[in-house]
């Protein structure tokens, strides 16, 4: 390009200059900014989160005991979940006396707490109990969440469970499962004369109450999504029947009078229908009964044993166990009936399928090679994973957040079965304390 010198009206040139210079300079600006260092962290420390839960402060002198009780229930819940490591209270440096003031974070950092829970219980003049709590992030020096609740004094354990759920949700991002109950079959007596009663308890084993007297054999209790009703099977006079039991009123009614035997009842997600398997002759098929109208619909019609149905949480499909292919396998079918698709293809036989409340997994009992295993698979049958094996594990039920499974294990011999929980990743198997032997657990939805 040839170099020429030329004259221009000074004003125009300088403006143009400024514009172009500005444009060019601003174009170059990004490249002049210093490039930012980036660092990738792809591994972390897989460990339960250290959390400090001092005793809840007593708002009035009489509340000391309930303050200690609440913090113990919370500590126990969080520890049993396997995701938290509560720090021993003996190690605490600061004594919390006023939860409305910020704690001395440095003293909690010293004992390596990453989260701190402070709370206060205060008996109100009208007799109610007020519970307040705050969850603190020790490293950031900030409150993460805080709530207050009013309740009758005898429900202090429920408050502790609700607070546990809040802490769990805030720190893990998953919904909690502590404020829930479990219905199970309580077994007492010798092996030959086992007395089986329906029992209800909090998910941590507290507040056990018996719902039947044990005169008749009861099996497979299941919760309604509304949590006030339980459906179960009882071997009364003659054939086994499906019953509805109202927890609040204590009344029970027969779901329906069906010829033949009825087995493994379950509620639909909306609580309006009960699905069960009815045995006629040598085979059993699935039937749905509407609780209001008492009308029944047949869903399967095969010369095979179709049993143990379980609805998906959105009510559109259900899974069940069928031996139409030879050995018992798991099938998925539309809720209104129709062609069933087999989803289990491993070695052995699959039974007692249960659909997770999150809708992403189906848990089952797998039998093969002399072992009983509890496993989960995705709803299309892929990703099968066995969580625990032994003789004899059976009857999985999901916690309300779909992250924990409860099942029962019978070691055989003269002992009896007990309830266990395990995380769906296979970790953290814990025994659930029950007054006697226990089997056939069913987990309720969250009570709150």
């Amino acid at each position: 390009m040839s170099v020429t010198s030329f004259r221009l009206p000074p004003l125009a040139l300088s403006r143009r200059h400024a514009l172009i210079g500005g444009a060019a300079a601003s174009l170059l600006l990004p490249s002049l900014a210093r490039a930012q260092t980036r660092l990738q962290i792809t591994e972390g420390n897989v460990a339960p989160l250290p959390i400090a839960i001092p005793n809840f402060v007593a708002g009035t002198p009489a509340d000391g005991e309930v303050g200690v009780g609440v913090s113990q229930v919370i500590t126990n819940n969080l520890k049993r979940s396997g995701l938290f490591a509560p720090i021993d209270q003996a190690a605490f440096i600061e004594k919390i006396s006023n939860i409305d003031a910020a704690p001395q974070f440095q003293s909690w950092k010293t004992i390596n707490a990453q989260a701190l829970v402070t709370g206060r219980m205060t008996r109100q003049p009208d007799g109610r109990l007020k519970a307040e709590f705050r969850l603190w992030d020790v490293a950031a020096g900030q409150q993460l969440t805080g709530q207050q609740y009013f309740t009758s004094p005898e429900y202090w354990r429920r408050i502790a469970h609700i607070i546990s759920d809040q802490i769990y949700e805030r720190l893990t991002g998953e919904k909690g499962y502590f404020d829930s109950r479990v219905v199970f079959v309580d077994e007492t007596g010798s092996k030959e004369r086992r007395v089986k009663r329906l029992a209800l308890m909090d998910q941590d084993g507290a507040n056990v109450r018996y719902l039947t007297r044990g005169a008749d054999l009861v099996l497979t209790p299941r919760f309604s999504p509304s949590t006030q009703e339980i459906t179960y099977m009882e071997f009364g006079q003659g054939d086994p029947r499906v019953y509805l039991f109202n927890v609040e009123t204590g009344q029970r009614e027969i779901v329906g009078n069906f010829p033949g035997m009825s087995f493994s009842p379950r509620f639909s997600p909306d609580g309006q229908r009960v699905i069960m398997s009815l045995q006629q002759g040598g085979n059993s098929n699935l039937f749905v009964m509407d609780l209001r109208s008492k009308s029944t619909t047949r869903l399967t019609d095969t010369p095979a044993i179709d049993t143990s149905p379980s609805y998906a949480p959105d009510g559109s499909r259900l899974c069940f166990e069928s031996d139409r292919g030879g050995k018992p396998q798991i099938y998925v079918m539309p809720a209104s009936g129709g062609p069933a698709q087999r989803i289990s293809f491993g070695e052995g036989s699959y039974s007692t399928p249960v659909w997770s409340p999150r809708g992403d997994y189906i848990a089952f009992t797998k039998q093969g090679g002399g072992q009983f295993s509890i496993g989960i698979m995705k709803t299309d049958g892929s990703g099968e994973r066995l969580l625990t094996s032994g003789f004899h594990n059976e009857g999985p039920t999901f916690a309300p957040n779909g992250r924990v499974l409860m099942f029962f294990r019978d070691p055989g011999g003269n002992g009896g079965p007990s309830l266990f929980t395990v995380d769906i990743s296979g970790r953290n198997e814990q025994r659930v304390p029950t007054p006697g032997f226990a089997s056939d657990p069913a987990w309720s939805p969250l009570l709150s």
């Binding site: 210079g21 300079a25 972390g44 992030d137």
Partner: protein, 316 residues
């Protein structure tokens, strides 16, 4: 006359924009990606030895000097932030040895000065082997010669332009003489020779051939990574880890502490993401002070983005 000028002007503008655009693409700085830690033959030396080795100190041993190169020999013209300078034949390398400082007009007129914007745009704090001497007596003869020239000293230059040493430029209106403008802009000693070489190197260094003086050493990065790994608490059995990738921007003071609360720069709204972001924040907050970082490399670690990515830990 006006029309002719406009065409030239338009052509000039177009070519400038093209050139600048190309320059942006080829000269833009890449973000410093911390290289993944992979196995490599190891020589055990301490971290500060390593930093010293690549520090490029002025008084270091002249192992393999990598001189300042402001102009690529035989290369295409270099960017010019000042804008309206028309292209000059760039081929001219440094020619005459030091002409005497007084008769300034001659070198100004005959020798097209090497372009200086590359040097101007460097950040301030790099060692320059050649000092800039603002030389007031010289400016005046130039000023006289250029008194009819147009002034272009108010380009909106970016602040990063290392210009503090330059004396304030004359702001009078002048008729435009582009050959003299170049000299006017160059406030360094006109006897300076342009440094040329095969590859543009805006940073002279005496030391290793790579001459990337103040970069974070591998050992520093690894130590920082190790600390954050230890502090980053991850839940066992995390599902769908691809939703839980958290980017945190941290700014550090020279004390290696956080200058401001760390900023989460990734997006996410689910409670799980929130919990994951909290855990990453906790790791960063607890990691203070980051005493594995060297003061010499402060520019590199004062502003970082740390990505916490749990995918490798949870293959499903």
């Amino acid at each position: 006359m006006n029309l002719k000028v406009d065409k030239n002007l338009a052509a000039s503008i177009t070519l400038h924009v093209l050139v600048i655009g190309w320059g942006l693409v080829s000269f833009s700085a890449r973000s410093l990606e911390a290289p993944p830690p992979e196995s490599m033959p190891v020589d055990i030396i301490s971290a500060d030895q390593l930093s010293k080795l690549t520090a490029g100190a002025k008084t270091g041993e002249k192992d393999k000097p990598k001189p300042l190169v402001e102009k690529v020999a035989d290369a295409r013209p270099v960017d010019d932030t000042v804008g309206k300078i028309t292209e000059k034949p760039p081929v001219e390398t440094a020619v005459a040895p030091t002409p005497p400082p007084k008769p300034v007009e001659k070198p100004v007129e005959k020798k097209p000065d090497p372009p200086k914007p590359v040097a101007e745009n460097k950040p301030k704090d790099e060692p320059k082997p050649i000092e800039k001497k603002p030389d007031p007596p010289k400016v005046d003869p130039i000023a006289e010669a250029l008194k009819t020239d147009d002034s272009k000293k108010q380009p909106p230059k970016p602040e990063a332009k290392a210009a503090p040493q330059q004396p304030p430029k004359p702001k009078q209106e002048r008729t435009f003489d582009q050959s003299k403008i170049a000299a006017l802009l160059d406030k360094r000693d006109p006897t300076r020779q342009a440094a040329t070489g095969a590859q543009l190197n805006s940073q002279a260094s005496l030391g290793a051939a790579k001459g990337n003086a103040a970069t974070l050493s591998q050992s520093e990065l690894d130590a920082l990574r190790a600390r954050l790994t230890k502090l980053w608490n991850v839940q066992a059995g995390t599902e769908r880890p691809e939703e839980l990738i958290v980017d945190i921007r941290i700014r550090l003071t020279p004390d290696r502490r956080l200058a401001a609360p760390p900023e989460i720069v990734s997006q996410g709204s689910s409670p799980r993401y929130q919990a994951a972001a909290d855990a990453a924040m906790r790791a960063v907050l607890q990691g203070q002070p980051f005493d594995m970082l060297q003061s010499a490399t402060y520019e590199q670690w004062k502003d970082m983005i740390v990505t916490f990515d749990p995918r490798q830990m949870f293959h499903s």
